[in-house]
Symmetry: C2
Subunit: 456 residues, 2 copies
């Protein structure tokens, strides 16, 4: 039986970061992966989806700029977009990821990893001992809710098939208007498909601010996505290569291809959780350092603990867990984790948010002041995101005079977010923010409008 200080199950971003940090800290580390080193994010989620979205976004921005717009005489080149996507996902080959592990002396075991007892992991028939800790970082898989006929559809896509598609289908029917649904709706519609998007809730992106949802919905509709909200899929059937979805109002939608984007569930069914007295199938509950209660040697990071299904938060948890194992504890509670974590939806307009939305703040019982401004309603907006929709909303805790939530929509606003994240996590009061001057003429002057409206 080989023995390591730490065994990490799952070599996605969270597992890799934890393993690397532990190895840098001088520990002997093994990492177990049954698919590709780099994980869902690198091959079938964040990375390929942005590759499909960015060309449209960049071209849309140029078309808003007189003098540059005139140079655009063609349209998106879908095969070139797909080829660049393939480059980004390295044609589903993880060879380029291996040196990073090798440089750190992390031992890679390929195969399915599972616990067989306390500090014991099996992979491909081999037993590994973890002298200090085991980290579960197995990620999540697409969810197929119990909709009549859904399980029986042959060739249904999940995010995996959508993000790695080799051709742009004529029609695409998407079940689910969350992040995967809206991003893939934009990608495929702008690359040539006729997309139909079905969402059971009253609106798309139900967890984000209402205005964010409205702006993304308008954008998708403007170039032809057929959007049906408030319609739960009740039945799915397939015949002669056509999938038919029946919704709660009795109408139907048809397509050759169905993309199921109805959420994700943690990969915990075959992890051997029962061998250490834990329940398989659900999320693995953890404390603020990602430790599994009552199992001082066991950690769970990333999607598997259900706290925040984002690559960046998985990596963050990887750092916390590694530091904890190395003897340095950094509490996770800081006002922008869990469901309040920073997040970006890469549609055009983008939706960048951190901390509370108006809804979550109300549910948390916070007394709020809400300040809205147009993202491009300033001098910077004459050049960037000109005339494009966009709103910046700041939520201020009335008593503490702190920003506790921020949602910014608009053209290419992803990198606006970190200022809000630092203000929220750093708990920088408005009276100090008054002295943080945004440069002119940049759209960061949204911060000035906040200060003006808040009377500081």
């Amino acid at each position: 039986m080989r023995s390591f200080d730490v065994v990490v199950i799952g070599a996605g971003p969270a597992g890799e970061v934890a393993a690397g940090r532990l190895a840098d800290g001088g520990l002997e580390v093994a990492i177990v992966e049954d698919r590709l080193v780099g994980g869902e994010c690198s091959y079938w989620a964040c990375m390929p989806s942005k590759a499909l979205l960015r060309p449209y976004e960049a071209l849309a921005e140029v078309k808003r700029i007189p003098g540059a717009a005139q140079a655009v005489r063609g349209s998106l080149d879908a095969p070139a977009v797909l080829a660049r996507r393939d480059e980004i996902i390295h044609d589903l080959d993880d060879a380029t990821q291996l040196p990073w592990l090798e440089d750190r002396g992390v031992a890679l075991f390929r195969g399915h990893g599972a616990l067989t007892g306390g500090r014991r992991v099996t992979v491909g028939g081999e037993e590994l001992e973890a002298r200090r800790a085991v980290i579960l970082a197995g990620g999540s898989v697409p969810m197929f809710p119990p909709i009549e006929g859904l399980d029986g559809v042959e060739g249904a896509w999940t995010n995996r098939e959508a993000t790695t598609a080799k051709e742009i289908p004529e029609r695409l029917l998407i079940l689910g208007g969350g992040v995967v649904g809206v991003e893939m709706a934009q990608a495929f519609q702008t690359l040539g498909s006729q997309v139909t998007l079905i969402e059971g809730e009253r609106r798309l992106l139900p967890r984000e601010e209402e205005f964010a949802c409205a702006q993304v919905t308008d954008a998708l509709a403007s170039y032809g996505v057929e959007i049906r909200t408030g319609q739960k899929a009740t039945k799915v059937s397939q015949s002669d290569g056509t999938v038919t979805v029946t919704t709660s109002d009795g109408t139907t939608a048809e397509s050759e291809l169905l993309l199921v984007a109805l959420g994700r569930r943690p990969s915990t069914e075959t992890l051997g959780l029962e061998s250490v007295g834990l329940e398989p199938g659900g999320t693995v509950a953890v404390d603020s350092l990602c430790r599994v209660p009552k199992h001082p040697w066991l950690y769970a990071i990333g999607d598997i603990n259900g706290r925040a299904l984002f690559t960046h938060m998985g990596k963050y948890q990887g750092r916390l867990a590694a530091d904890s194992i190395l003897g340095h504890d950094h509490a996770i509670s800081h006002g922008a984790d869990g469901p309040l974590s920073p997040r970006v939806i890469f549609t055009d307009p983008q939706v960048a948010a951190v901390g509370h939305t108006t809804d979550t703040a109300a549910r948390a019982g916070l007394e709020l002041d809400v300040y809205d401004t147009e993202t491009s309603g300033n001098a910077g907006g004459s050049y960037y995101g000109r005339g494009a929709p966009g709103t910046a909303r700041f939520l201020v805790d009335r008593e503490r005079r702190l920003v506790v939530g921020c949602t910014i929509t608009g053209a290419e606003v992803a990198d606006f977010l970190h200022a809000a994240t630092i203000a929220i996590v750093g708990e920088v009061p408005l009276e100090r923010l008054r002295h943080a001057v945004p440069s002119f003429p940049t759209r960061s002057e949204i911060w000035l409008k906040l200060l003006e409206q808040a009377g500081v």
Copy 2:
């Protein structure tokens, strides 16, 4: 004699902000302007220059993106760029700026304003009384240093003629490689001129980090700007419509058009400063609330006090001065004002900086840790600024564990800056910044590299 609570001399951004804030605070305010309401920035500086730069930048970015690049089949349309520029500067008509003043009940006096004694201002023969305060906000004008023959050149451009040019000249010779020089070099070269840029110092943008200068220099050179650094202009002559500049090494450069971009001096020669015992001609010294020492009724904001020649800092000082007059004092000293103010140079690559550079920190005697990373050397860089040059440098005060300076170069990084400004001004320690997680995949992950390198 008409009487107001406050008389503001100069209706550029600084003066306008101060006047508006005072009026919102319930005071009777007059503002005096001898040119256009909106000031240098709106018509002859920040606004038109960005109009000339942005189309090239946006097109350069699209060309870096496979799938979108294929749609670009033409080049920049210079007449359309100039037409959009005219739209942005409202064809040098300030009518659209007036309602903002009118809505606030600010009385506008057109004409040259000057002090005639304590709390007295003359404009067009009319005497105004300022019951509480006078704010000097007259801005700055281009400097013509004593170079032989320079004063005698007919038709020499300053930033005013360059930013409002109605045609793109065949050749343009620029004296001065500071912000105006490099921005206009990019604008005119990319719009069709052959530009020669002469700078007396060893390098362009001598106040910014060396790598920023190198990257901007390489970019300008890559599309044909002829750059001569370390050569001071010693003589300028003009004959038959050709301007010839002789430099300290004895070589010459020729062009039909000369742009003089050799810095600015405060507009204080005809302000009546001598009537209140102050020296005309130089900057007006102020304290941290922009008050002129020994003149409790007199404030000076914006370029005129020489603290930080940026529109945003002028507006900031306008807020400070107005608040001080209204009885609310907010100290200006916060670690990112004066020469350490946030600043953006809108070349491609852009240069965005706040707080110390390596040089200013060394001169201030700070013990620093310097952390560099590639701006696009992360997952976000696969989509934004792909393959474009760019560096993010964080300067950390070793003892206090605080970021005290940040310079970010790269494609479209202007709005990255505010995160650094908040971290510096908010004095958010590294140990707290560890919990401010940048979203994946955005280029804001430059912050992760900082944390990694700093070992937090």
